[in-house]
Assembly symmetry: C2
Homo-oligomer: 244 residues x 2
Amino acid sequence: MNYKLTIAYDGTRYRGWQRLGDSGQTIQGKIEAVLSRMEGRTVEISGSGRTDAGAHAMGQVATVQLSGDRGPKEIKDYVNFYLPEDIGILSVEEAPPRFHARLSSSWKTYRYRIWMSSQPCIFERKYCYCPERIPDAEIMREAAQQFLGTHDFRAFHTGKTKKSTVRTIYSIELLQVGPELQIFFTGDGFLYNMVRIMVGTLLEIGWGDRPAKDIARLLTQQERAQAGFTAPPQGLCLMEVVYL
Amino acid sequence: MNYKLTIAYDGTRYRGWQRLGDSGQTIQGKIEAVLSRMEGRTVEISGSGRTDAGAHAMGQVATVQLSGDRGPKEIKDYVNFYLPEDIGILSVEEAPPRFHARLSSSWKTYRYRIWMSSQPCIFERKYCYCPERIPDAEIMREAAQQFLGTHDFRAFHTGKTKKSTVRTIYSIELLQVGPELQIFFTGDGFLYNMVRIMVGTLLEIGWGDRPAKDIARLLTQQERAQAGFTAPPQGLCLMEVVYL
């Protein structure tokens, strides 16, 4: 039986989503360990994509093949009982045999939280980036429009890949929520570190360190070294993966 | 010069507000250490009251005598620079010579957060109590009215005291905020563990384990052993101390 798992986690203590050899300190590794215990054999899960060390999720999705001896609610309760308290399964659903968390996804939404107050950020410090200087949100909002649509995001990407670096961004929304700026990115897929480099570039624009029109140039020029810094992981959260 | 400090902290890592001998792992101890470094002498601060190990504050108030060599903004920036990231000074204000954080206070508001969903509580787990069973909030709201007014709260108090255990509760508000129940208690003062025992008693009523009218009996009977359990500290936060 094929199952769709929807998963939330506080990534603070973890080395990211993806299982790394024998190191248990990954989200995937923790969930697989519990499912393997339940099934009495080695179980592997496929996530919709990796999330970075220290980044969070409120709606990560993974697929897994299980024996079908237990119903979805029983699976959910079993796994949540054994998972550490910073990882939780929000839902377990039976899925069609060909459904795959990564290959079947239509779009994803990430949120990046920036603390915009000079007051100390006490309770949100593990879930927000708290820069020393407060950026201009209006300038960032306007500049962000340059990312919309289909582009080669090679400049907004860490590492090398032979695969296509073309992605489509459907929307970018900047919301002021109390003392925070929350930026929501929705697109058909995101390259490694792509959201964090887009945020770093927007911040440099918001601080006045880079011209607002620079993004169009970076999208054309396609050089990573020309783009902004990689904003820290704790502000990042995978909110939703949508399947049509 | 006498100063009023307004302080926020995430109490997760600490043994509570009050300095304990040489143990640095208290909020008061951490702040005094930084102020002592700044002044070049041993500085002591007076809080509006103690908070328990693991409990939080968004508006604790303390008074302190300082040389006056630095202005309020300079003091705030200095202390925040050296404090750990889970303690922060929200404001520093010059205060009249007789102003005292505890003795001058008119009332205080505490908040207690209860996670009311069967979904795992991932991001709020250090700031909410997540009981196994979900209580009935309407029954709790009605029962809570019995606490209002001036009573001897001896039954809602841990330890022995020769001092008066009479306190006045001005208001108790229960708010449903997303998947949480937040209970706000405002009163002229609170005994050791008083809010947590009031919450534990309300929870037992909300679970149907205790009759709703029981609180009036406990306030008259004044026996700690008859009242409810002490709800865990992580749900508790000192929100505000008001001075008229």
